[in-house]
């Protein structure tokens, strides 16, 4: 057993921190292909793009004309590029039975091999996602090259239950893709970048699972996004990044999943989750709603 613990299971992940423009599809695609090429040159196994990377984030009702199906010919260059490495991109996904999801789509070997649909659609303050998207209904890791990959989209990661469930379902690494807006405050880091730093670190530490965060940077429609793409190991130690708040770039980070598993053996925090407490709370909520 001891030998298995330390048999290396390395995985190299590239975080493509890009700036996209809502509705400028060709330019966004070129940006993707450039970052994919950069990732290839580092021998990355997987390249991860931010939320709604293909279309841009602030689409409003533009999702109606910009939504994709998984076999959309506009995605062919990305599918083709995935013959060389795994690619996780964000796009508005037109659902078969109506509605559009905010989706993260995993491609590999020229095919789509997994999809996560955003569960929590922020609809407050500057956010209006509930107006344009339908929420996802499932939360489970994506199977990829024999690995279990937990994917969360932005607001999903603000609900710690999501990461806990994914790890409980066998996720060996967590990937958070975001279009995280920001404000300028009283110190040298955009406020959004600081918020995400806490969330990413806490997610990794509390689930004892390597966590990779790809955020967009730049501006869309007058909204500032604050980059800071970052990779941490299962104990919250930096593997790569954080990237700059403002500049595009590709951050490459290598993780050893065997070491991560060893960390979970030494600190079995996620395995100790008291699901019966969650169940009791869910039942209390159900009873409350039944009385309303």
């Amino acid at each position: 057993m001891a030998g298995n613990v330390f048999r290396s299971e390395k995985l190299k992940v590239a975080l493509a921190q890009i700036a996209t423009c809502p509705g400028q599809i060709s330019a966004n695609l070129e940006t993707h292909l450039g970052a994919i090429e950069q990732a290839r040159q580092t021998q990355a196994d997987l390249v991860v793009f931010p939320e709604l990377s293909v279309s841009g984030y602030l689409l409003g009702h533009g999702v109606l004309e910009l939504a994709y199906t998984l076999d959309d010919p506009r995605l062919t260059p990305l599918r083709e590029a995935s013959r060389h490495l795994g690619i996780l991109v964000g796009l508005p996904l037109r659902e078969e039975h109506g509605g559009i999801s905010n989706a993260a789509v995993l491609m590999d070997g020229g095919n789509v091999v997994g999809v996560h649909r955003k569960l929590y659609l922020p609809t407050y303050g500057m956010f209006d996602e509930g107006r344009y998207f339908v929420p996802g209904r499932e939360l489970s890791p994506l199977s990829w090259r024999g690995r279990q990959v937990g994917v969360l989209i932005c607001e999903d990661a603000w609900h710690p239950s999501c990461a806990s469930v994914l790890v409980n379902r066998g996720a060996e690494l967590l990937i958070i893709v975001a279009g995280g807006p920001s404000e300028v405050g009283g110190d040298a880091f955009p406020q959004g970048m600081k918020r995400w730093h806490w969330i990413v670190g806490a997610t990794a530490i509390t689930t004892v699972t390597p966590t990779f965060f790809a955020n967009r940077c730049g501006w869309e429609e007058g909204i500032l996004f604050s980059g800071g793409s970052w990779a941490v190991d299962a104990r919250g130690r930096t593997l790569g990044g954080p990237a700059s708040a403002t500049e595009p770039g590709v951050v490459t980070a290598e993780v050893d999943l065997a070491v991560a598993r060893h960390h979970r053996t030494l600190a079995p925090i996620a395995q100790a989750e008291r699901w019966e407490l969650w169940q009791a709370e869910a039942e209390r909520n159900r009873a409350f709603l039944a009385r309303c």
């Binding site: 700036a19 423009c21 809502p22 509705g23 400028q24 599809i25 060709s26 330019a27 841009g56 602030l58 689409l59 409003g60 009702h61 533009g62 300028v184 405050g185 009283g186 110190d187 040298a188 880091f189 955009p190 730049g218 501006w219 429609e221 007058g222 500032l224 403002t246």
Partner: protein
């Protein structure tokens, strides 16, 4: 007493520079045009514009009228020279006098001031059309919240880099960006008639008003709560009255919705789509 929270000025300057670069790129146009008044806001906007896209892609125009001060023009020249940008001067005096005569508004300083502000808008958008440019606006958050602007005049622009920046912080930006001290120190004015100042018209200055506006608009404190936290009642009443009275200027045009595809209501779409 509550004060306005600090802002990191180098970061603010850096991100606003990025904003101007991206807006020009996304628009597909080639340059910015802005009116240099000789005041702080336009000086800061000009420096940010030059930092964002380079001095070769910023057109600066001075747009004096019959009652503009010579000092304002001199200060505009000083900023242009500092930036290494030529300053075009478009004398709007004859057009203003002619139009004011036709409209009969020469003796009404507010009407004539609005006319001047709108003629400046005409000149800037004409230059923008001629040069394939965006009009770089100079309004700041304090002015916009108070409605201290002329509808379709100084308020009209393609982009407002300072539109979410308190005037207090515009002073700090100006200092950081090297705006000449003489411009930083002089009282803010729209320079629409002799002796006009913002504080003279509003009845308070921006450094006083900004914390009141911040704790009401951003933090949601009521008039009573603001007074309980130590703000002077007369200041709070005056600032919030102006803030409420001029709110229509935040959204100057309202479209009557009679369909399920009303622009900016049922259909909010990206501004610069491209296949």
């Amino acid at each position: 007493m509550l004060s306005l929270p600090a802002v990191d000025v180098p970061l603010l300057a850096s991100v606003l520079t990025g904003f101007l670069a991206e807006e020009l790129r996304a628009s597909g146009l080639s340059r910015y045009v802005l009116g240099l008044s000789g005041g702080l806001d336009s000086a800061v906007a000009a420096v940010l514009g030059v930092r964002a896209v380079g001095r070769d892609k910023v057109t600066c125009l001075a747009l004096p009228g019959p009652s503009s001060s010579l000092e304002s023009l001199a200060h505009a020249r000083e900023v242009a020279e500092l930036l290494g940008v030529p300053l075009g001067v478009v004398d709007l005096g004859p057009a203003a006098e002619t139009l004011a005569g036709i409209l009969g508004c020469r003796q009404d300083w507010v009407r004539f001031g609005n006319l001047m502000a709108r003629l400046r808008m005409v000149a800037l958008f004409d230059a923008a059309r001629r040069d394939g440019a965006l009009v770089l606006g100079t309004s700041n958050k304090s002015e916009i919240l108070l409605g201290y602007s002329t509808l379709f005049g100084d308020q009209a622009a393609s982009v407002h880099p300072l539109g979410d920046v308190w005037k207090t912080h515009v002073f700090a930006l100006g200092e950081y960006l090297g705006v000449p001290a003489v411009i930083l120190r002089k009282p803010p004015t729209a320079d629409l008639w002799p002796g006009q100042t913002d504080a003279g018209e509003l009845g308070f200055d921006y450094l006083e008003a900004d914390p009141v506006l911040y704790y009401h608009h951003d933090q949601g404190l009521s008039e009573e709560e603001l007074c309980a936290r130590g703000f002077r009642k007369d200041l709070v009443s005056r600032v919030l009255a102006t803030y409420r009275r001029n709110r229509f200027k935040w959204r100057p045009t309202v479209i009557a919705r009679v369909s399920a595809s009303c622009i900016n209501v049922d259909r909010i779409l990206p501004r610069n789509p491209r296949p």
